[in-house]
């Protein structure tokens, strides 16, 4: 499908929306931001939605989901929603500072960050445009790729709101910041959150970013986040994705690391009709390091696409990518890992691996490593495996009396555990561990809340094989 016919309406509707809105935007946005919007919409108008004739979209088809009559919410549409109810946070022991987004809009909940007095800011992008114009001027839109990424362009053109986080130099944020991005609507919605996270020198932050559906309505989320790590900053970042089967989630995240900065980002995709994570990591300062991890558990007709681009721009940086996935039924997956080592980036150490288990013979994965190396003193390695569950291991488990279904599940769990075990927030790790077990057992439905406090919390995880810690 070339996509031009099916998404024609959505594209036209968005271009029209831009024409209607731009005058209003110009009242509040800086001239520079407005110029950015105009350039971005021109790029989107030129390129349109990505379609399967593009090499980078060959195996991910947006055609079907775009063929819906979307509304483009200009407000959270929260009139008939009890916000406190849907954003209630009650995971035992997992206390976070929660930032709520509904249909792409920041919801002011009146909670206060303990370290606000030290200058830590967590607010809506709208508020940031007003109150933190200096930071916006330096960072906003500076890391996003608009060319050859028409969805980022579309977001740049139209996005109005999202989450803004600023951590000043030398501040370690104690609270875990959790962004919960919910979509709830009586109609198919097309939402475009835009986030900006700025970490000052020697600062640190733990950020958990949840994408959830509240109902089974069609949603198209086209999200862009820019994340800047100044010198020696540390970020521990998690994306938890638990969307309904009718939604499309496009997540473009642009990380920019200065010297000595340390990033760990982990994408945990448990459910979703179509998920595409595009992660761009620019290692822009010496001695910076990035761990880029992911695990995906897809079944039925679900589709997962992880695109990772790591740009080693300067010498002495390291990066480590590991993505593991289990695909069942007719589920399909794409992994595209591109490592660029620029000419001056000597003594680069870059590692990339993608491992997959296909449970059914209809499940497919398209895994493509791509190394582009211009420096000569470099250590780079990549690997990709696709396989079934190890029959020797199955025999081992069954020979102890464990039936075939449970043995299979234990092995899938063990496979995913390598990524889950890398979660460095203990309570979060336990929670995800639990969710992975439920997911593998087919018990995880779309919670009416964020995956971190899904409503089946009180239920004992009814694993016939009880793998809970005893």
């Amino acid at each position: 499908m070339d996509g031009t016919n099916t998404n024609y309406n959505t594209r036209e509707a968005l271009l029209k929306l831009f024409d209607e809105r731009i005058a209003t935007y110009a009242l509040s946005d800086s001239p520079e931001v407005i110029t950015g919007r105009r350039e971005a919409i021109a790029e989107f108008a030129r390129a349109g939605f990505p379609h399967t004739k593009l090499e980078k979209w060959r195996n991910t088809d947006l055609g079907r989901v775009l063929n819906n009559g979307f509304t483009f919410p200009l407000a959270p549409l929260a009139a008939d929603v009890d916000l406190e109810e849907i954003f209630r946070c009650e995971v035992p022991g997992f206390d976070t500072y929660m930032v709520a987004q509904l249909n792409g809009w920041f919801i002011e909940r009146g909670n206060k960050l303990a370290q606000a007095s030290q200058g830590v800011v967590v607010c809506s992008m709208e508020e940031a445009f007003e109150k933190h114009a200096d930071l916006i001027a330096v960072h906003y839109g500076k890391y996003t790729r608009v060319n050859n990424n028409s969805l980022s362009a579309l977001n740049t053109a139209l996005a109005r709101d999202g989450v803004f986080i600023y951590v000043p130099d030398n501040v370690e944020v104690n609270e875990i910041v959790q962004i919960v991005n919910l979509v709830q609507s009586a109609y198919p919605v097309f939402v475009q959150p835009r986030n900006l996270v700025i970490l000052g020198k020697n600062s640190s932050l733990r950020l958990v970013h949840c994408d959830d559906s509240v109902d089974d309505q069609v949603g198209f989320i086209n999200s862009v986040s820019e994340v800047v790590l100044s010198e020696n900053a540390r970020l521990d970042h998690y994306k938890l994705q638990n969307k309904n089967d009718r939604s499309a989630l496009i997540n473009n995240v642009f990380f920019h690391l200065e010297a000595g900065a340390n990033l760990s980002t982990n994408a945990i995709s448990l459910n979703g009709g179509l998920i595409r994570n595009e992660v761009y990591v620019r290692l822009n300062g010496r001695g910076s390091h990035a761990d880029i991890l992911g695990v995906y558990l897809m079944d039925r007709d679900q589709h997962i696409d992880n695109q990772v681009f790591v740009d080693h721009a300067v010498p002495d940086c390291t990066s480590n990518e590991l993505f593991k996935g289990i695909l069942d039924d007719q589920a399909s997956g794409v992994f595209n890992g591109h490592i660029l080592v620029r000419k001056d980036a000597q003594r680069t150490n870059a590692y990339q691996n993608n491992k997959n288990i296909l449970i059914s013979d209809k499940a497919v994965i398209d895994s493509k490593p791509f190394l582009e190396i211009y420096a000569d003193d470099v250590k780079c390695s990549h690997g990709a495996t696709v396989g079934q569950l190890d029959s020797e291991a199955m025999f081992y488990l069954r020979s102890r009396g464990i039936n075939a279904d449970n043995a299979r599940m234990l092995l899938m769990y063990a496979f995913a555990a390598e990524i889950v075990n890398k979660i460095s927030i203990p309570k979060l790790k336990l929670r995800i561990d639990d969710l992975v077990k439920k997911r593998l057992r087919g018990e995880l439905s779309i919670c009416d809340q964020c995956v971190l406090h899904c409503n089946s919390r009180e239920q004992k995880v009814s694993f016939e094989i009880d793998m809970s810690k005893i």
């Binding site: 020979s399 009396g401 464990i402």
Partner: protein
């Protein structure tokens, strides 16, 4: 207890076991010796239910039940245990949870409720003490990063936890130093009872100094070519397998 009659087994068209006959009674320890590649491990795997082999002919009856018609896990619940020559690593699954799962699945097979957690933990402690396992094995992932000796000790620990009626030890002595060998052998000796039996598969006589067999069989080219008392193992050790080869 175990009765194997005229068992012929092949893999990918190649015949490996060419008519095995074997009777094991409760309380007995049988040793199966033989050079490499004669089918010892195949015999062990076929009894346990590995499905990569084709059983062409013959029968395996265990306590009156036809084993060949049973899935692997049912054989385990019926009381068959195989100690693997190369135990498999299972990252992310702790030994505690692995064993608890196995114990409870076997109980379920027999119509019993799961074992309460405190009872289970007490049993683990008791078996660890009995087998002289000090390491905090229980919280580690199954076999992950274990030394050869640790893996084999872990097999014997599982054996102790699951209390099978027939335990098959497939080359449990391979890759063990003398201290680990003693720990493993002592464990087996402590687990011997009048109502259970052991089938000890080994290439060397060394293990049989510690686990003394009642009956020794020599497997050669897919057949049991000789059976006798424990002195047969000594004789083999002295004369070597060439002796059997020349006789066969």
């Amino acid at each position: 207890m175990l009765s194997i009659k005229n068992l012929r087994v092949s893999i990918e068209g190649k015949e490996i076991l060419k008519g095995i006959n074997l009777e094991v009674r409760p309380g007995e320890v049988h040793a199966i010796m033989g050079p490499n590649g004669t089918g010892k491990s195949t015999l062990a795997a076929v009894i346990a239910g590995r499905d990569i082999f084709e059983v062409e002919e013959g029968e395996i009856v265990f306590n009156g039940k036809n084993l060949l018609e049973m899935p692997v896990e049912d054989r385990a619940s019926e009381g068959i245990f195989l100690s693997f020559q190369y135990p498999v690593e299972i990252p992310g699954v702790s030994i505690t949870n692995f064993m608890r799962t196995a114990v409870n699945e076997q109980r379920k097979y027999h119509g019993l409720d799961p074992m309460p957690a405190n009872e289970f933990l007490a049993k683990m402690e008791e078996k660890k003490r009995m087998l002289d396992i000090h390491a905090k094995l229980a919280n580690r992932s199954v076999n992950e990063g274990f030394s050869g000796g640790e893996k084999k000790k872990n097999e014997i620990f599982q054996l102790a936890m699951l209390e099978p009626t027939l335990a098959i030890l497939d080359e449990t002595d391979s890759g063990l130093d003398i201290d680990a060998l003693k720990v493993v052998a002592n464990g087996v000796n402590k687990l011997r009872r009048p109502d259970n039996a052991f089938l000890v598969i080994t290439h060397y006589q060394r293990l049989l100094e510690y686990i003394v067999p009642d009956i020794v069989h020599v497997l050669f080219d897919g057949r049991i070519v000789r059976s006798g008392g424990k002195e047969l193992a000594m004789e083999l050790e002295e004369k070597g397998y060439e002796w059997i080869r020349s006789e066969a």
